[in-house]
């Protein structure tokens, strides 16, 4: 009955309660946003386990800092921002993150990878479904392209919102999304060609 009461509350009320130390209200916030946060972190970290761990750290950090949050603002953009920063911080710690600096501007287009054996039509396309091919293609994207595309397509942010979230300019957002789609298209080209031939 009590948990139902929390489920019916909107974010602002939950934040206010959590700011007073109400753990149940915070629990509802975690329930509400954890799946999105884990998904986002998994995309950036390129690993479910690491995404899960970082997402936990994100919510712990939110709990510790919830008193500083301005409850008149939207909650999820704040959570998303913390998630992205936490992932970048984690990647930076591991020295993986040359590509993931928030200040990166991609003036030079990366060379388009030649698909490896995973994408070769002979042994793969009969077995792997389109979904899996796309998943692999997405995984193979450089982190900043993957994250930007994810924010656009899954989180449904506008270019402006992405620019704000990642602290980059709109032109960079646009070029990252275009490049991500180009790379994905080239990865999928073999699959789609084989499909066309067989149909």
């Amino acid at each position: 009955m009590k948990s139902k009461k929390y489920k019916e509350q909107d974010d602002i009320d939950l934040i206010k309660l959590a700011q007073k130390g109400d753990e149940k209200a915070f629990e509802e916030i975690v329930n509400r946003y954890s799946n999105r946060v884990i998904n986002l972190a998994t995309q950036i970290m390129r690993s479910k386990d690491e995404g899960w761990d970082v997402a936990q750290e994100v919510f712990i950090s939110i709990w510790r800092n919830i008193k500083n949050f301005d409850s008149t603002k939207s909650l999820y953009p704040w959570i998303r921002r913390i998630t992205i920063n936490a992932c970048y911080e984690e990647l930076r710690k591991r020295g993986k993150s040359k590509e993931s600096s928030l200040d990166d501007v991609e003036d030079d287009e990366p060379s388009i990878d030649v698909p490896d054996e995973t994408y070769s039509p002979e042994d793969t396309f009969s077995k792997i479904e389109l979904k899996e091919v796309i998943e692999k293609a997405l995984e193979s994207l450089p982190e900043h392209y993957r994250t930007t595309l994810w924010l656009r397509v899954v989180e449904n942010l506008t270019y402006e919102e992405i620019a704000e979230t990642l602290n980059i300019n709109i032109g960079t957002v646009k070029s990252r999304i275009n490049m991500a789609r180009k790379l994905m298209r080239d990865r999928l080209k073999y699959y789609l060609e084989v499909k066309d031939e067989s149909s």
Partner: protein
Amino acid sequence: MNHPSFEELSSFIDRELPDWKIKEIKEHIDECPSCKEKLEVLLIIDQGVRENYKEFDTQTFTAEVLEKINPTPTRRYSFRLKLATIGLAISLIFGVSLGIVRDMYRENFNREKQLLISQHNIISSGDMGVIFISNR
């Protein structure tokens, strides 16, 4: 119009173009199978990316987060449990030891009683250690 560029098609599906441009591209696509195909590939990619969104076990996740945030109640509970277990163990050891000592005492007492009976021609004894000695 000319064929829209890849960038224009990409912005088109994101609706990040002015309305007039969106209308223009839409009209072109209706008439151009080649551009329609290019657009479809982009839509397949977006759909595939969307399908990468997974459902995680958020119940376990939430429980783990709450446990990390506030592990104190669990600790207090386990401390009490430990205390109760130790108390029980001590009582058990004490009780068993007491039983052993009592048995040893009784055994000793009986042995001495038997010795007395045999030495002093005693024919019976009472529970409280009162001994009746025969004059025979």
